[in-house]
């Protein structure tokens, strides 16, 4: 109860953030000239071409692994943060436990460090990929004659 009262300023700050952002969005909505929803002005700009299909693309799966890595390191950080606030963190019995803990998780990170570079494209492969794509595009433009 007393702790909650200590943290009420955080709640007030969060509410203030929401109110401010909401207020700014509302003000811009009031000041905007209104556009009909289906008119040409609301379609996305594609340098003169007609946009086809929805704009949501699929990201490669590789980015998920970095997020998982972050979560694991975050949990490890929370454990170490708990230990850092104690007075016995430099005892011999505790230090080797912490060392084993950190080493286990860093072992996992080391495995990730070995496996993840296989998913990158090295410099040579990027170059050949670009060259191939460029040749393909030139062939297509030859066929279609500049659309």
């Amino acid at each position: 109860m007393r702790l909650f009262l200590d943290f009420v300023p955080v709640l007030v700050w969060a509410l203030l953030a929401v109110v401010l952002v909401g207020g700014m969005l509302f003000a811009s909505w009031v000041l905007r000239p209104h556009v009909l929803q289906n008119s040409e002005k609301t379609s996305s700009y594609e340098c003169g071409e007609e946009p086809i299909g929805p704009a949501r693309i699929a990201y490669p799966y590789n980015y998920l692994v970095y997020t998982i890595l972050f979560v694991v390191v975050d949990v490890m950080g929370a454990f170490l943060w708990l230990l850092a606030g104690s007075s016995f963190r430099l005892d011999v019995g505790v230090v080797w436990q912490v060392l084993v803990f950190v080493l286990i998780i860093m072992g996992g990170m080391g495995f990730a460090m070995k496996k993840l570079p296989e998913t990158f494209l090295s410099g040579q492969e990027t170059l050949t990929l670009y060259r191939k794509a460029k040749i393909e595009r030139e062939l297509k433009e030859l066929e279609t004659g500049g659309h």
């Binding site: 702790l3 909650f4 929805p54 949990v75 230990l83 104690s86 505790v94 084993v100 998780i105």
Partner: protein
């Protein structure tokens, strides 16, 4: 004075409980799944407020760091990586039989928790000797690391399993065209690689051509 104290505490609890339940309902039922993922992160922050009511300041901080900062980000990533999920026209409604079963089970759980919450004599079990809050972090770390340090090691192994499993199960390919590129290092390739950073990564084949 005691009356106002108890009344205020009940008001806080009801307020935060109401917000959390409302956000959780929104997170599950909103049509747009991006909204649902963000409502889940929002709800996790308010649950940290719950922990503050229960006199656990470190748990509140850990909840915000791990749940809102990590797991909520994971769910937003799931929404990002699966473009089919963002199509709200795919939400098919459950059959009436499923709905009835869900209603029965949820009412059972609701009655059980209502019985526990309202009829159990909670105030008698409230212990009068709580350690003061300044020592919470110290005592908690002593409990976790000194007395029960073995469980921390087991959690480290579980986290290790998470990393290794995620990388091993999820076969991340480079571009499929790279499989044939190995034999094409001819006259046009350079001796030295230009750079070894990740420049482009091709999307996997199933979601490339929508």
């Amino acid at each position: 004075m005691m009356q106002v104290d108890i009344w205020f505490e009940q008001l806080e609890f009801v307020l935060i409980a109401g917000i959390v339940i409302f956000l959780a309902w929104l997170a599950l039922e909103h049509r747009d799944i991006v909204y649902a993922a963000f409502f889940f992160g929002f709800m996790a922050s308010f649950v940290a407020g719950f922990y503050l009511l229960l006199e656990a300041p470190f748990i509140a901080g850990m909840q915000i760091a791990v749940y809102t900062g990590g797991i909520s980000a994971l769910i937003v990533f799931a929404v990002l990586l699966l473009p089919r999920a963002q199509d709200s026209s795919l939400e098919t409604f459950a059959s009436p039989r499923r709905r009835r079963i869900g209603l029965v089970i949820s009412s059972l759980v609701g009655m059980l928790s209502a019985a526990l919450a309202l009829f159990f004599p909670w105030y008698e079990t409230f212990s009068p000797d709580l350690p003061p809050l300044e020592f919470n972090l110290e005592l908690l770390s002593q409990w976790l690391w000194s007395e029960h340090g073995i469980y921390v090691m087991m959690t480290a192994l579980i986290l290790l399993t998470a990393i290794v499993g995620a990388i091993a199960i999820l076969q991340m390919d480079k571009a499929e065209s790279l499989i044939s590129i190995e034999g094409e290092f001819g006259i046009e390739s350079v001796e030295e690689p230009i750079d070894d950073e990740a420049s482009i990564e091709e999307p996997s084949e199933e979601v490339g051509n929508e």
